[in-house]
C-alpha cells in the first residue's frame, strides 16, 4: 500500500505531469507528420532524460509513446497518409469519412478508441502481467510465423472484389520487402551492387508512396474535370461518445487483440491494427460498407494499435525483452536510470512500477484534453482546396521520405513506388494488401527461416507447436470462408477497398 501511495504521489507531482504532457505533445506531433514516427521522437528525446529523476524521465518517454500511437491517425484520416505504420489500417475508413465531411467525427472516434485501447491494456498489464508474460515467452519463431501468416490471410478480406487481385497485391508487397541485405545471411538480394539498395525499401517510404501519390494524382485529374469545392466539415460534437459507446463490444475485442499482439515480441501495431480491422469487417452486419467510411473501420484499428502499448510493456518490464524499436528505447531509458527490468524490479521498486502505471493513465487524460482542442484545429486543413492540398501533400511526401533515413535515395524510391502504386490502382489491384505484405513480409520470412535453422531444416517444428497449429487452422478457416463467401455471393459489384 505504501508503494502505491508513493507511486501515485510521484506520478501526480507537477514535474512528472509536465513531463508526461511534453512527451504526449511531442509524440502527437512526430507521429502526425508522415515520415516522422514516435520512435524517432523517443530517440531524440532520450538524451534529455539523462539529467532527470527516473520517474519523470520514464514518464516523459511513456508520454511520447502514448501520444505517438494516437497521432498517426491524424494524418491518416485527414490526408489519407498514415503518420505511423500502425495507422495504415485507419486510412481505409478514416479518410473516406473525412472526404465526406466527417473528419472531426472520425478523429474524435479515433481518440476515444485509442484511449480505451490504451487504458484497457494498462489494466491488463497491472492485473495480469505475470500470466501474460508467461504466455508471451512461449512464442518462438514457429508460433510467431503462424501468427503472422494468419495476419496475412486477412488479405483475402481486404480485396472484396477479386481475391486473385488481392493475393497478387499481397505477393507484390512481400516481394518488395525482400530487396536489400538479408538479415540472416548478410548477402545482398537484388541490390545490384547499390549501397542504397542494401538498406532495402523502407516500409514507411513505401507506405507514403502507396497511400499519398495515387491520391494526389487522382486529385489533380479530378481538378477541372469535376467541380469539387473544399470539403464542408459537418458540425458535430468533437467526441462522439455515444456513437463509439455503441461499438463497446468491438472496442473490447479489438483492445484484447492489440494487447495480446503487443505482448508478443516482434509483432506490433501494424499487425494488430490490420487483424482488428479484418476482425471488425468479418463480424460486422454490413461488411460491404467497410472501406467506404464506417466508424467501425476506425474504432477497431485504433483501439487495437493503442492497446499494443500496454501489451508491449509487459515483456519489457517483466523480462527486459523489447518487442520493437520504441520499446527498445523505453528499455534503454529504464537501464540508464538504474531500473533493471525483471522480477526484482517488482519486489524492490514497486513504487516506480505504480508510478509508471499512473503516468500512462495520466498520459491518456492529457491526450483527450489536447485532442479536444486539437481536432477543431486539425480539421481546418480540409478547408484548403483539394488541388492546393495535393501540392502540399506532394512536398510533404518528398520531405517526409527524406527525413526517415536522411537519404535522397528514399525520395527517388518514393516517386517510383508511388507511380507504380497509381498504375496498380488503375488496373484495379487494391493497395491495402500491398501495404499488408510490406508490413508482415520481413517478420514472416525471418521467423520462418529462424524456425528452420533451430530445427535443422525440419518442418516438424511447425506441427509440434499447438499454438502454431491453432493459427494455421485459423488461417485455413479464414481463406476457406472467404472463398466460400465469394462463390456464394452473386456477381454484384462491391465497394473495392483501395
Amino acid at each position: 500500500m505504501d508503494a502505491l501511495f508513493q507511486g501515485m504521489a510521484a506520478a501526480l507531482s507537477v514535474g512528472t505531469v509536465a513531463a508526461v504532457a511534453t512527451g504526449v505533445v511531442a509524440g502527437l506531433v512526430f507521429s502526425a507528420i508522415p515520415g516522422l514516427t514516435f520512435s524517432v521522437a523517443l530517440a531524440l528525446i532520450m538524451p534529455f532524460t539523462f539529467g532527470m529523476d527516473p520517474i519523470p524521465a520514464m514518464a516523459l518517454l511513456l508520454g511520447v509513446y502514448s501520444g505517438g500511437m494516437t497521432g498517426g491517425a491524424v494524418s491518416a484520416i485527414l490526408l489519407g497518409i498514415p503518420g505511423t505504420p500502425s495507422a495504415a489500417a485507419t486510412v481505409l475508413d478514416g479518410h473516406p469519412m473525412a472526404r465526406r465531411g466527417d473528419a472531426s467525427f472520425a478523429l474524435g472516434a479515433s481518440v476515444i478508441s485509442s484511449a480505451f485501447g490504451g487504458l484497457f491494456s494498462l489494466v491488463v498489464m497491472m492485473l495480469l502481467l505475470e500470466q501474460v508474460a508467461d504466455v508471451a515467452i512461449r512464442f518462438g519463431p514457429a508460433e510467431i510465423f503462424a501468427l503472422v501468416l494468419f495476419g496475412l490471410s486477412t488479405i483475402c478480406g481486404l480485396a472484396d472484389k477479386s481475391m486473385v487481385r488481392g493475393l497478387i497485391a499481397g505477393v507484390l508487397g512481400l516481394m518488395v520487402m525482400t530487396i536489400g541485405l538479408d538479415e540472416l545471411d548478410g548477402v545482398g538480394r537484388l541490390t545490384f551492387g547499390s549501397i542504397q539498395l542494401q538498406q532495402g525499401v523502407n516500409m514507411l517510404v513505401a507506405m507514403i508512396a502507396l497511400f499519398a501519390v495515387p491520391q494526389v494524382i487522382s486529385t489533380f485529374v479530378d481538378h477541372g474535370r469535376v467541380e469539387r469545392p473544399a470539403i464542408t466539415e459537418r458540425v458535430r460534437a468533437v467526441f462522439p461518445w455515444r456513437r463509439v459507446a455503441g461499438c463497446w463490444s468491438l472496442l473490447l475485442r479489438s483492445s484484447a487483440i492489440g494487447t495480446v499482439i503487443g505482448s508478443i515480441p516482434g509483432t506490433g501495431g501494424p499487425i494488430a491494427s490490420f487483424l482488428a480491422y479484418d476482425h471488425a469487417r468479418r463480424f460486422s452486419r454490413r461488411p460491404a460498407e467497410f472501406g467506404t467510411g464506417t466508424i467501425e473501420g476506425v474504432v477497431a484499428p485504433e483501439a487495437s494499435n493503442n492497446a499494443v502499448m500496454g501489451g508491449a510493456l509487459i515483456p519489457v518490464l517483466s523480462l527486459g525483452i523489447p518487442g520493437d524499436p520504441a520499446t527498445a528505447v523505453i528499455l534503454g531509458g529504464l537501464l540508464v536510470h538504474g531500473l533493471q527490468p525483471g522480477p526484482m524490479l517488482f519486489q524492490t521498486r514497486l513504487d516506480v512500477i505504480y508510478a509508471l502505471y499512473m503516468a500512462i493513465a495520466v498520459s491518456w487524460v492529457i491526450i483527450l484534453l489536447v485532442q479536444l482542442v486539437g481536432i477543431r484545429l486539425f480539421v481546418r486543413v480540409l478547408r484548403v482546396p483539394p488541388h492546393v492540398l495535393g501540392v502540399c501533400i506532394l512536398v510533404l511526401c518528398g520531405i517526409g521520405s527524406y527525413v526517415i533515413r536522411n537519404a535522397i535515395f528514399d525520395v527517388y524510391l518514393m516517386a517510383i513506388i508511388g507511380l507504380l502504386g497509381y498504375g496498380l490502382q488503375r488496373m484495379r489491384i487494391p493497395l491495402a494488401p500491398v501495404v499488408l505484405g510490406l508490413v508482415l513480409g520481413p517478420t514472416l520470412e525471418q521467423q520462418y527461416r529462424t524456425a528452420l535453422i533451430l530445427s535443422e531444416g525440419s518442418h516438424q517444428i511447425f506441427f509440434e507447436s499447438g499454438v502454431a497449429m491453432v493459427f494455421f487452422a485459423l488461417t485455413l478457416l479464414t481463406i476457406g470462408w472467404q472463398v466460400w463467401s465469394s462463390l456464394r455471393t452473386p456477381t454484384e459489384p462491391k465497394p473495392e477497398v483501395t
Binding site: M175, L190, F192, V221, V395, G398, I399, I408, V411, P493
Partner: protein, 161 residues
C-alpha cells in the same frame, strides 16, 4: 476496355514479370550455405512462383468470364490527360529529389511547389502561386528544422557559411 480484356493481358504480364523476377533471383541471390537452412533465395523464389501462378489464374478467369458474356461493369480507362498528370507528378517528384540533393531544401521547395501549382494544380494567379510556394517552404522549414531539429538537405552545390 472491359475488365476481362484487361486481365487477358495483365495476367500474362504478371507471369512474365514473375519469370523475370525468378531469373534475377537465381542469377543474383546465392542459395543456402548450410543444409537444412532455406537460405536467402528461398522466399523470393516462393513469391515469384506464386505470382506466376496467380498471373495464369487471372488469365484463365478472364477467358472464362469472356465466354459467359458478363456485364462489363465499371472498366478502367486511361486518357491522355490522366497519363500526362501522372507522368507530370512523377517527374516533379524526381526533379524534387534531384534539386534537394544539389541546391538544398530552401531553394528546391519553392521551385517545385511553384511548378506543381502551375503545371498540375493549374493555378494561374501569380501572387497566389508565389505565396503558397513561399508559405509551404517556410512552414516545412519551421516544423522540421526549427521545432523538430531534423536536418534538411543543404545542397551540394550551395556553399554555406
Amino acid at each position: 476496355m472491359r475488365l476481362d480484356r484487361l486481365d487477358r493481358w495483365l495476367g500474362p504480364s504478371l507471369t512474365l514479370l514473375a519469370l523475370v523476377w525468378l531469373w534475377l533471383v537465381y542469377a543474383y541471390i546465392p542459395g543456402a550455405r548450410f543444409e537444412g537452412e532455406p537460405g536467402p533465395r528461398a522466399f523470393p523464389v516462393l513469391l515469384g512462383t506464386v505470382l506466376a501462378g496467380l498471373g495464369v489464374v487471372m488469365m484463365l478467369q478472364s477467358l472464362v468470364s469472356a465466354r459467359r458474356d458478363r456485364e462489363p461493369g465499371e472498366t478502367p480507362s486511361l486518357g491522355g490527360r490522366e497519363v500526362g498528370l501522372a507522368a507530370g507528378t512523377f517527374g516533379l517528384l524526381i526533379l524534387y529529389a534531384f534539386l534537394l540533393e544539389r541546391i538544398g531544401f530552401v531553394s528546391a521547395t519553392p521551385v517545385v511547389t511553384a511548378l506543381a501549382m502551375y503545371g498540375l494544380a493549374k493555378v494561374r494567379r501569380w501572387v497566389l502561386l508565389g505565396s503558397i510556394a513561399v508559405g509551404i517552404t517556410f512552414g516545412c522549414w519551421v516544423i522540421f528544422d526549427v521545432l523538430l531539429g531534423t536536418p534538411l538537405p543543404r545542397g551540394s552545390w550551395v556553399i554555406w557559411p
